[in-house]
Amino acid sequence: MNHERKTMNREIGAIERRKERLDRGIKARTEGLYAIQSWREVLYLLAPRASLIIGLLVLPLVLPGLYWQRVLGLAGVYALLAISFDFLAERVGLVCIGGAFMIGVGGYISGGLNYYLKLPVFLTIPIGTFGGAILCTLLWLPCLPLRGIYFAVVTFMFPFLTTSIILAGNLFEGTEGLSPIAGFPSTWIGIYLILVILLTSIFGLRRLCGEDIGVVFAGIKDNDQAVYASGINVTRVKVYALYIASMIGCFAGAFVAHFSGFVGVSLFAVDFSIMPISACIMGGPGTLAGPALGALILAPLSELLRGFGQLRVVLYCFVLVGFILFKPEGLLNWATRKYHQIEHWVKV
């Protein structure tokens, strides 16, 4: 605000002007606390949430064909990874860039059960989700005392390690991969399954962060020493958070396995680790819904740019650099501000 005012002054010289921001919509409010007084105000608060839910549920119906529906399914996978990353990084302070590992573990468990034991989809996906999350959490448990970049580096390394082990040991058919894996009874069921899980995860995680345990998560992010001094075993709380996030990631993995009908080392592709970070920066870190939206924009965008070949990476980087430099708050934070406040210039 101050900075804006200064630059404005320089531009227009003598006239003193400043940007004034007025709250709109709800009359009685201050710093995030508000009293709802009428139905209009209830609608005002519900409209963004409702438009997200309805928008996502209607989206598959208006898409032009099977190709774009499959793209949406894949975008849903990236969206789940993005909120899992956002939850851990922004709400708990664990920067975990092991999305590919979650996908791989969930995919191999779920796909393997279907391939070797012929278990049906409605059994393999829950086993892949919960079992995969336990496996991820147990494997990452020794790294939990690490903080910041160190935890990030270790989690980033895990997918490469697993790929090497699978290829070197020729496990699970090695480079060939497991195929065919049973698909969903119809594409619609697959698409709506991931959209419903996506919405549940967004709203569930937001609710969780508002609960007391969510406050403890935020405390760990701010200052873990003070949480220790409060008589709480920080590592145990981090395990809870990691389990929840891995559950979301492993579900996405199990979904990919059945959606594409194939399980291979490509599930450990580095894209699954990196794309969520970009989606998070683009959508608005810490908002949970923002990163999901970011992923739903970025994934189809990179499909559209497929024709450009290698050049699409360049364009993709431009988008990212642009957001980091000019809109570091991300899309959703910016939109929230615009929704809640009227901005206009006033003379001083």
Binding site: V216, G219, N223
Partner: protein, 254 residues
């Protein structure tokens, strides 16, 4: 009289060195139930290291700490806090992204606080606001709802104390709660310390503000270069030759 009280915290031959610096050398003392023990000493005399070693934030090389005859050396910090030994930090460590009353949700969520929570256990927000009022936050003035990042240092020091109180501790170790505060803020802190003591909390206070400390302390320990120089009642300690020379230097005789 004093000898009849039970000792709640026993420190025996505690030593800790950081590289070549001996931060603590064979420090031993007893903290009696219900007393206020002051720990003073020049800068770098090992006061904060003593707190860290007792509460498990650093591991002492030798020596032992007993809490009610139970050996607590080597336990992780959260277990020591869980037993009832709470501490404040000299450099305050609030959760800056949270509102001040939400800062207390963290200790109130801890296993120890939940064991003590009675019928109001579910309403942690209300308990938190009560606690803040107890340490001197003005209830009506919106202060408890302000983000901790917007609070001045005086409130943050009180918040540290409130975080300890939320654990219903038996011992509170205050690491310089008066430092960095103005005279009037200190003046309003002293009654708070008195109140805590009336409630039967045992206090160990690390301090540089001697006058305020001596108005509340029953016993004082003086540390100098990691060694215990003296122990005794405040006026007794201040007249000690060794303590005087540690603080003021040797007397020069011409």
């Amino acid at each position: 009289m004093e000898e009849q009280k039970k000792s709640i915290l026993k420190v025996r031959n505690l030593s800790k060195s950081f590289g070549g610096v001996k931060a603590l050398k064979e420090v031993s003392f007893d903290l009696l139930e219900g007393e206020v023990l002051g720990v003073i000493g020049p800068n770098g005399s090992g006061k904060t290291t003593l707190v860290n070693a007792i509460t498990g934030f650093v591991k002492p090389e030798t020596g032992e700490v007993f809490f009610k005859d139970m050996r607590i050396t080597g336990l992780p910090p959260y277990k020591i806090a869980d037993l009832g030994v709470a501490r404040t930090f000299q450099v305050v460590r609030p959760f800056l992204s949270l509102r001040s009353f939400k800062n207390l949700i963290v200790p109130l969520w801890s296993p120890r606080a939940r064991r003590f929570a009675g019928s109001r256990g579910g309403d942690r927000d209300a308990v938190a606001i009560d606690l803040l009022e107890e340490v001197g936050f003005e209830r009506d003035a919106y202060v408890p709802y302000k983000s901790a990042s917007a609070l001045p240092l005086g409130y943050l020091k009180r918040l540290e104390l409130a975080r300890c109180l939320a654990l219903r501790p038996e011992v509170i170790i205050c690491d310089e709660v008066f430092s960095g505060l103005s005279m009037s803020e200190i003046a309003s802190m002293v009654p708070l310390i008195e109140r805590l003591r009336m409630r039967g909390v045992t206090l160990m206070m690390i301090e540089h503000r001697l006058r305020e400390l001596f108005s509340v302390a029953d016993k004082v320990i003086v540390l100098c270069f990691g060694e215990k120089l003296a122990e005794g009642r405040p006026e007794q300690v201040m007249n000690d030759e060794k303590v005087r020379s540690a603080y003021l230097g040797e007397e020069i005789r011409l």
